[in-house]
Structure formats: structure tokens, C-alpha cells
């Protein structure tokens, strides 16, 4: 269903084994995946299904045991600024102000100062944190920290946002607000998003496409397209039908395992 669009991400036969003591754990069975540019994909599955591992392989933080992945045809060989990870616990640099955190990527490229500040301010505005530009991460709420983390990867001009349960540590209201903001940012920037979650509702609310993963070893069990128009109404029958469908796919694997 890629409508002839260029695939930005290609994952071919990626497996991952971890050594745990003398044992080896197979975290990922061969995974194949193609994601077109600009798509919003949610990876969902129970904990231990390898969804975070797959994300970390794509980020370049983990090397696959076999197989490989490529971005726009270029093989992934480590972390790169074309992909930006948004961690659940933010991973902001605590000694830098909000503005310095957001300007970190541009600063690495040796841009002139005004250019760095201009970019930082642009993305500060995008996530609505102009007033907090000179605060340190410790002085921010969880939701604000995650906004900074998103702005930080966007300011670095990432093509793909890799989000590892980014809203998992937030309260329900803040989460809902950030989900909406993320959708707006996605629509405005056309960035590709791979979003790991274990909330079915979150996946159905956000994604163009939900990949249901199952454990032992981790693999993509089903690939569900969500064609509901946005903004999505979580109380509509269509929404709930999809939610039930994905929940069923998730739990059926749990029972099997």
C-alpha cells in the first residue's frame, strides 16, 4: 500500500541475538519491513517482543546479528543524524538549557551561532516552549521535557523520528496533549515516524499503520492499515472496531506464547 512512494526505510532479514550469561536469547526473528517516506508507523506488542530492539537497530545503537537495514538505500552503520531517537526518559543533556539542548545537533555541524540560535528558536516555537528557553531540564515537567526531546531531533533535521514509548511516563492529560501536538508536527513537517507503544488506543489514534509484534522470538505478526480520517474520534464505532481487532491480535499471541 505504498502508493508508489519511495520507501525511506528498508529492513531486510534482521535478526538479533543477545548473550545472557552462557545462554543466547533470540530477540528478533528475521524481520522484514519497508516504510514509505512520511508514514506514521506504530510498533505495538507486549514487553519483550523485541519492538525496542528493532527500533534500536534502526537507530544504529545495536548491530543486527544478521541482515541489515538501510535508509534511502544507504546501509545503516551506526547512529546518524538522519534518524532521531526520542527516548521514554527524555535523555536530555541536564547541564544545557532548553535552547542549548535543541541547538546541540546544529552546533555539531559547526554552524554559525546566529544560525544555531535561529534554528533553536524556530523549533522552540514549534513545541511551544519559547518562555522556557533558558530553563534547565530539571526545571521542566515531563511533558515539557519530551517536547524538548522532539524539538531536539527535529532541529537536527532528522528524516525519521524513532520514538520509544515516548509518552509512557506521562499522565493521561499530558499524553493526550502531546499526541495531538505530535500529529500536528508530523503533518506540518512530513517527517517519517516509527513509534513504539504498548497502548492499543495510542497506536490506533496516531498511526497510518500498526505493526503488531509478538515475542519468542520477536517478529511482526500483522500489519494493520488505519485509514480513519484525522482527527480521529476515539469513541466512534470504527475506531473501536479497529481497537478491538488489534487487541485481539495482540492477546491471541499472548495466549499462544
Amino acid at each position: 500500500m505504498s502508493k508508489g512512494q519511495q520507501d525511506i526505510l528498508n529492513v531486510r532479514g534482521v535478526t538479533k541475538r543477545f548473550a545472557v550469561g552462557d545462554d543466547e536469547v533470540e530477540a528478533l526473528a528475521p524481520v522484514n519491513l519497508a516504510i514509505p517516506k512520511g508514514e506514521f508507523v506504530c510498533l505495538i506488542g507486549a514487553s519483550g517482543c523485541g519492538k525496542s530492539t528493532l527500533l534500536r537497530v534502526i537507530a544504529g545503537f545495536e548491530e543486527p546479528t544478521t541482515g541489515g537495514a538501510s535508509i534511502s538505500g544507504k546501509a545503516i552503520a551506526g547512529p546518524g543524524s538522519d534518524r532521531g531517537m526520542v527516548f521514554q526518559d527524555y535523555a536530555l543533556f541536564p547541564w544545557m538549557t532548553v535552547r542549548q539542548n535543541i541547538g546541540f545537533g546544529p552546533r555539531q555541524r559547526g554552524w554559525p551561532r546566529q544560525e544555531i540560535d535561529r534554528t533553536a528558536d524556530e523549533f522552540l516555537r514549534m513545541v511551544g516552549l519559547e518562555r522556557f528557553a533558558d530553563r534547565y531540564p530539571n526545571q521542566l515537567s515531563g511533558g515539557m521535557k519530551q517536547r524538548v526531546a522532539i524539538a531536539r531531533v527535529l532541529a537536527n533535521n532528522a528524516d525519521i523520528l524513532l520514538m520509544d514509548e515516548p509518552f509512557g511516563a506521562l499522565d493521561a492529560l499530558t499524553r493526550e496533549q502531546l499526541q495531538n501536538e505530535l500529529l500536528q508536527i508530523w503533518q506540518r513537517t512530513g517527517v517519517t515516524i516509527i513509534f513504539v507503544t504498548h497502548s492499543v488506543e495510542e497506536a490506533v489514534l496516531l498511526a497510518d499503520r500498526v505493526l503488531v509484534m509478538s515475542a519468542g522470538p520477536g517478529r511482526i505478526e500483522s500489519d494493520v492499515r488505519i485509514d480513519l480520517p484525522r482527527p480521529r474520534d476515539v469513541s466512534s464505532p470504527e475506531f473501536n472496531a479497529l481497537r478491538r481487532d488489534i487487541s485481539r491480535r495482540l492477546t491471541s499471541h499472548l495466549v499462544k506464547a
Binding site: S81, G84, F93, F104, Y136, R152
Partner: protein, 289 residues
Amino acid sequence: MSDHATALPDHADAVLIGATATRRRKRQRLESLRAFVLGAGFPLLLILIWDRAVAITGTRLIPSPYQVAVMMYDFTFGGVYDDAFSGTILTHVWKSMQRVYGGFFLAALIGIPLGMAIGRIKVMRQLLDPTISLLRPIPVTAWLPLSMIFFGLGPNAAIFLVFLGAFYPILLNTMFGVRSIDPKLFEAASMLGCSGSAMFRQIVLPASLPAIFSGLRIAHGFAWILIVVGEMTGVPTGLGSVVMDGRTLSRTDLVITGMVVIGACGFVTDRIIVAISNRLLSWSPQHRE
């Protein structure tokens, strides 16, 4: 419940907030006054006990606080005893400071980069960690004879001893600080295009700065402790040599004067270090004092 608060008009809120802020400021002022009274009162009490104890026992071995105060005055301004120590305080403090900070900065200069390298680079850890663990338990005083052979009778031996005492706390705290950096920060930095030596400068150093500063502070304390040992190596000036001379001359008032000046120097310079670290670590509230 907060329902009532939100029902109040805005200016009422502002008045409420203003009132609580004033009350908070008042409480803070009272709190700091109490800290000062308690903090300064206790040493005064100790001096009182010392004074009474000397008077009651009638000992001639320990001078009274008053005699020490007179010695202190003479040591600072001269004009009482007019001996070799009169009005010489600045010379001794200056000499000791040179040795304390010579050793201390040398320890920081070597300890911080080495600690960062050992903390971050596995080969360095494998190469150096066992040796450091072997050398560390050796008391600095045990190095005294060797340091006198290496550096002769002079200030260099003192600097070396201060260096040794200051080196390990700085090294170990830096290593610990680097090792306890959240690995996600490295991942975040590398995906944002940071690598190699830029990683050391931009991530490793600032992230381990709280641990480095607690190491520097401990080391700085040791440096002042070791100056007496260091200046036992036969240097003519310095606060440590004043204490040693006082012992040789059986002038306990001079010994105590030297001790008080060392304590005061250590106290004041420690406050300076705390002020610097509070400034540099303002991003990290849990490390503020």
C-alpha cells in the same frame, strides 16, 4: 479543595501569593539566622570549655584561649613578642598556599583527564585500574622518606605529598562520575552528530562535573591536611613548619596558632570551591549546597 481558590478573582490570587512569598522570605531569613547562631555558637562554646578547663586544672602545658589570641595577634601584626614569628603570617600563608595549590592543581590536571580516560576507555581501565588499586592504600606519610630522596629537602617534596593526597580522590571521583553517566546521553549525542574527542568535551566532562567537584572538594581538604606533613620535610617557612617549629620550641601557643590559621585557610578556600561548584552546577539542584 482548589475549587475555592480558582473561584477567587485574579487580584485576590496575586495578594495571596504575595503574602505567602513574604512569609516564605521571612522564614528563610529566620532559618539562616538560626544556622549562623548555631554554627558560630558551637565553636564559641568549645573555646569557653577550653578556657575553663585550663583555668580549673591549672595546667601549664596548654595555653588559654587568651594566650593563643595574643600569639595570633603577634603572628599577624607583631609588636608583642618581637621574635622570629612576629608579623610573619602572610609569608607563611603565602608559602603554604603555593604548595597546597601547586600539589592540588597538579593533581587535578592529571587526575581529571586520566579519570575520564579510565572511566570511558576499556583498555585504559584494564591497564591502570589494578595499579591504582595497589598504590592507593599506601598512606601518603609512608611516601615521606622516598619523596625526600626524590625531591630533596625543600618545597618540591611538600608539593609532591600534597599532590599524592589530592590525586586519588580526584581520580576516583572522576572515574566514578564518568562510569555513572546515563548511556542514553551518549546515544543521544551520537545520533545528533557528536563523536570522538568532541564527545569528551561536550558530554563526558560536563556530565561527570558533579562527581569531579565532589572529588575536588575532598582532595582540597586533604591538600590542607597534608601541608603539615609536607612541610615537615625541612622547609623554613609555611604554616606546617610553624607548627613543627612550635613543637620543637615547646611553644604550644604557636602550635595552636598555626593550627587555627590552617583551619581558617582551609575553611575559607573550601567555601570558595563550594561557591564555584554551585555556580557551575546550577543546572543540577541535587548537587547544590
